[in-house]
Every structure is written in C-alpha cells, then in structure tokens.
Point group: none
Chain length 198, copies 4
C-alpha cells in the first residue's frame, strides 16, 4: 500500500476547469488584492472543486503565476522598434514601461506576481525561462542592432545593460521610493547610453 501520491494523468485534465481557474484567479487578484486571495475563493469563483486546484498546482503562488503566464502566451514574436536611433527607441520603450507601472489596473496583479516570484525560487526560475527570458532576448536584440550601428560599445555586457536600464525603474516601483515619470525614464536612458558608449 504505497503512500506515494499518485501523479495525476495530464491527458485527462479538464481544459475548461484549467481556464476557469486561471481566469478566476486574475479576477480575484484585481478585486481583493493578492494578500486576500484564497484557494477557496478561486475554486468557488471558477465553479471547481478545491481538489482540482491542488491536483494540478503546487501552491497558490503557482496558480497566480500560471494565470499571468497564460495571459502573455501569444506574445512570443515580440520585437522592439528599431528606427536606427537607439536613444529614441529606448526612451520610447522605457517611457512605455514607466507608464505601464503607473497604470493602477496593472499595479495589483504585477505586484502580486513579483511578490510570488521573490518568495519562491522555483517560480523565479520558471519566470526567467518562460516570461523574462524571451522578453529580455528581444531587448538584447535591439541593443545588438545598436552595437552593429556603432552606437553602443561592441563588447558591452548586454545583460548588465538591461539591468542598468530596468532595475532602477523596477526598484522605484516596487519600493515606491520615488515618482515614475517620463523625465525619469529619459534620464535613465541618457545615463546608461553614456555608460555604454563605444
């Protein structure tokens, strides 16, 4: 009589339930916030048994994570604008990022996602692989284009470049340590480009 939990058979998984759970999760995060999100409420809202959630996800955080992953599923083929002017292009992108952070609609869910990732190394790994990775690759592609155009040092560390560009915004937003304005976006870009100049 083995007490090893049988693994569920993925082929029999109900797609309808899965979708309902992810959608209910997104709704509830917007409505009550992440701190007050409960598995109980997700199951009720999704019209699903709690066991169905526990069968397919390790933790509440994993559900939250997947509910975001599902959103950005079709967004793979993303590419940053490339007008040939790296400064203009980056400012546009960073300003857009700032605007997104400032949008109160995204505030709660993105914060929930980030707290979950910061708490759970497994989710962080998934996050890097499934979400951040592809996006970062697209960003680095634009930087490589700038390298080819001689606007950025050929030997620049592009991972570090991305961190210099995005981390200040991220930190300000997460810790609410200062205003996120377009001017701030521009200033960051200006500084980072100066650091990366050939």
């Amino acid at each position: 009589m083995p007490s090893v939990p049988r693994k569920p058979d993925p082929t029999r998984r109900s797609e309808r339930s899965r979708q309902a759970i992810l959608e209910a999760t997104r709704e509830l995060i917007s409505e009550v916030g992440y701190a007050k999100l409960s598995v109980e409420a997700i199951a009720a809202r999704a019209g699903v048994g709690k066991q169905t959630i526990y069968r397919w996800w390790r933790s509440k955080g994993a559900v939250v994570f997947d509910s975001f992953l599902a959103l950005s599923e079709g967004v793979d083929g993303m590419a940053l604008p490339d007008t040939g002017d790296i400064e203009a292009d980056l400012k546009a992108v960073i300003r857009a990022t700032v605007a997104e952070f400032a949008d109160p609609t995204f505030e709660a869910p993105i914060r929930a996602l980030n707290l979950e990732i910061a708490s759970d190394p497994d989710l962080a790994a998934q996050y890097r692989e499934k979400l951040a990775g592809p996006v970062d690759e697209a960003k680095k592609e634009r930087l490589r284009s700038a390298q080819r155009a001689g606007q950025i040092a050929a030997d620049a560390d592009l991972d570090l470049a991305l961190e210099l560009l995005y981390a200040p915004l991220y930190q300000r937003w997460l810790l609410r340590s200062g205003p996120l304005t377009p001017e701030y976006a521009d200033a960051v870009v200006d500084h980072v480009l100066r650091a990366l100049r050939p």
Copy 2:
C-alpha cells in the same frame, strides 16, 4: 456606543514586552521563515498576550519591520570610507553589499522585510524615512565629496546615481536573476562612474 478605538497610552508601554516581541519576531523569521510567521507564535515565544501585539502594531508586517528597525538603531552615525578615490571606495562598498546579500544568514530576514515593504505603502514610507533615508544620505555625501574632487559631474542627480548603483544588485538578488559576484559589483561601478563622469 463609540466605535472609535481607544488609543493606547504610550507612556505606560512595557519596554520589556516590546523588546521580547521584537526579539521573538527576529528569531522566528530565521527559524520558520516569514511566510509561516504567526502573531500567535510571536506572542507565545515572547511570553506576551496577543493583545499586547495588536495594541501597539497595526499588522504582522509592522512588527517585522520594527524588529529590523530596532536592530539598526545605533547605526546612525554611519559614513562611507573616503580615500579620495571614488572608484575604489565605491567598489569596496558595493562588493560589501553583494557579500551581505549572499550571506544566507541575512537572506531570509531581509527578504521578509522587502516583501513586507513591497506590500504595504505605509511601511514603505517608514522604511524610506527611518532606514533607507539616512543610509542614502551617507552614500550621497560620499558622492558629493567626489563631485568636489571633480570625479563626478557637478550637476549629477545623486538619487539617480544611487539607483543606478544599487538597483541592479537589488533586482538580481530579489528575483534571483543572476549571480552576485565581486566582478559583477565592479562592472556596475565602472559603468555607473562612466555615466557620471564630468
């Protein structure tokens, strides 16, 4: 029947209880982690009634926060080393910061503190005022010294400078998105100093 909650009288507060609570909180975070920290356990460990906690703190997060605040109480008169060489000084400081982040002893508590701050705007404000503020001021003082020495542009935005220096580390650590090595510390300093050059 007034629903206005009576405010506790701070003059009658038991210092012994306050200390016991903060200490118990620190111990428990180290032992069971922040996610499993409960007010009930804090009270039990501190030999204190739960009401004594709820009387003086708004939330579990506020207790956690204060338990850290208490630690760094005497650290006000801090000042960064100033050998006259801003690059060497910054590299030393940033390498030290990286080492601190890597120390597994501090990992759990600092992460707990950061999650708490990221979740609660009130605590974030307190954090800036009581903890980050003074520390940042000391850091900026060192940068001002570099400005006077002509090593950094006289009109540099020092708040932004700090963010460029520290946010990449912070992000890597929080999201575990990359290794935190002395080399990385040096690279960040090199880039930022290039951006700030007169």
Copy 3:
C-alpha cells in the same frame, strides 16, 4: 514580605462607586442579558476601575446578586394580607406572583439571579438568608394564622406547604414548561389547601 493580600478597609469604601456599580449592573442585565454581562462593561458604565469591583466582590455573580439585594432593601417589614379567608388571601398572593413572573421587565433580571444562585452554593446561602428567608417567614406567618383559625392542619409542615405552593410556579417559569395564568394559580392553591386541611 507577606504575599497575603491586604484586606480592603470597609470604612473607606466609596458609597458613590458602590451605587454606580450596582446600578450599572442592573441596567446592563436588562439591556444585554445576563450571559453577555461583563465586569469590563459594568466598570465602564459605572465609570469605575475594574479593581474597585474586584476589591469588593468575589465574582460577577456576587455583584449581580448584590444589585438585586440592594433593590429589595427596604422591603423587610412585609406582611401578607390577612382577611381571615386563607383561600382568598393565598389566591391573591399567588396570582400576584404569577403576574410578576409574566412581566417581561422582570424576566431577564430574575432569571439572571436564579441562574447565579443555582450555580453558586455560596450565593444560594446568601439568597436564603437575606432574601428568601424573610419573605418565607412572612408567608409562614400567614399560614400560622390560618392554622390558628383551623383552616389548616395544626401540625402541617409549613416549609413543605410553601414549596407545594410556589415550586410548581417556579418550575413552569424557569423551564417555560407551561403557561402561567391566574387559573393555574387558583388551581395550585386549591390543591395545596386540600392537602393541608385539618
């Protein structure tokens, strides 16, 4: 260093506080019922420190008890009507008792008192001595008068007689096991008088 609790000095007792406590107790029993009565609420309502209650009373029940005792303080010199007709006199008295039980104003407090007495042998003893005793004596005096008039057996056990008269009412009221009507009162008197006939 004796840990024997100093006994309070009765001569210094604040009559104003004592009255306020007893009055607040009576009010609160009427308002929230006995089950939800708390020492905390009594103290608050009376504008009195909790210690002042604990200094002078052993328990909440003792306060409740005293609050009733205080009411019936001046009622010592009571005597039952004596028209010479024991049947008519008893019916009048028992009907009055029934009416008192039925009065919703007295319902809650009397019930509280009785529950307290039933729970606490000490209070029961006090009750017999200070409240029930004198009243019963007056009732027995009327029965003795009936004995002298030859309406009741000369050797009747008057304590038993009182119980036969009052206990049926008491039980019906306490357990709500039947209606308390004037007809019921008369029926009880009729039966008991038959049992006591010479």
Copy 4:
C-alpha cells in the same frame, strides 16, 4: 457575495466525529464543570476541528444538550411500576428521584443541563419535546391507572399533579434550599395524594 450561510449537508455528516464530540462534552462537564467548559477543549478532546462543532451546533449549550439527549436515546419504552398501590409506587419513584438528585456523579451534569435549558428557550422546547415529554407521559399513564382504580379523582389535572409532585424536589435541589431525604419524598407524596383524592 451572498451572506446567506451555506447549510451543511446532513447526509455527509461524520458519525464518528459526532459521537466523539458528545462523549468529550460529557467527560469534560464531569471533570471541569459546566462553567469552565469550552468549545476549544471539546474539540481538542474529541480530536475534531472547532468548525465541525460550529457547523452542526448553534451554541455550546446545544452541544451540552445533545450530549445528554444521546445518553437517554434508548430509554423510550419506559414505564413506571404499577403494583396497584399508587401511594407505594409513587413513593418508590419519588424516593428514587431524590436519590438521583443527591448522587454527586449526576449533580454537575444535570445542573449544567438545567442551566442551559433555563437560559435558552429553544433548548427548553427541545427538552420538553425530546426528554421531558416522553417521561412525563409515562408518569401520567401511571396516574391514569390510579384514576381507573379510583385512587385519584377522575377529573384530576395530571399535568398539575406532576408539577405538585416533582417541582418541590426540583426547587430544593436547584436552589439547595433544603435537604432531599426519603422522608421528604414521602411527605410530598402524602400531601399530593391527599390533594388528588376523589
């Protein structure tokens, strides 16, 4: 968000938990007395979650009540002895009742039950229907037999008769207003039978 409390589904109720709760309740009343009985302790002793108690019972009193109800479940087919001599039979029964009241083992639980009933009209109604009703019916049946035998007036009010017989005992016991002896039992029976004579 409906505030209507979901009703539990009685078909899924765990009989094992129900029994454990009722048994733990009986044990605890005997051990610590009714006043110090707590839902928390019942749940712990029964190895049951508190919610399982609150799911199926309105109040602590209801649990106490049911724990007694459960005891006297099979006792329906009760009948009083009928030797043809109503006086002897009643004396035997009333003496037995007196003895039961005097038994210290039953003292605490029965008192708890009575206090609960006296406090809560709902429980009182249940008590009459489920416990007192059947028992009283059996007693009245014996009295009817006496009526047929011409030992008691044919038109006697049997409910009143029962109250005259039992209420004096009940009152003495509950208020501890006098000793409960076999002689007392006999005296009550003698008086009541005199009152009921044809």
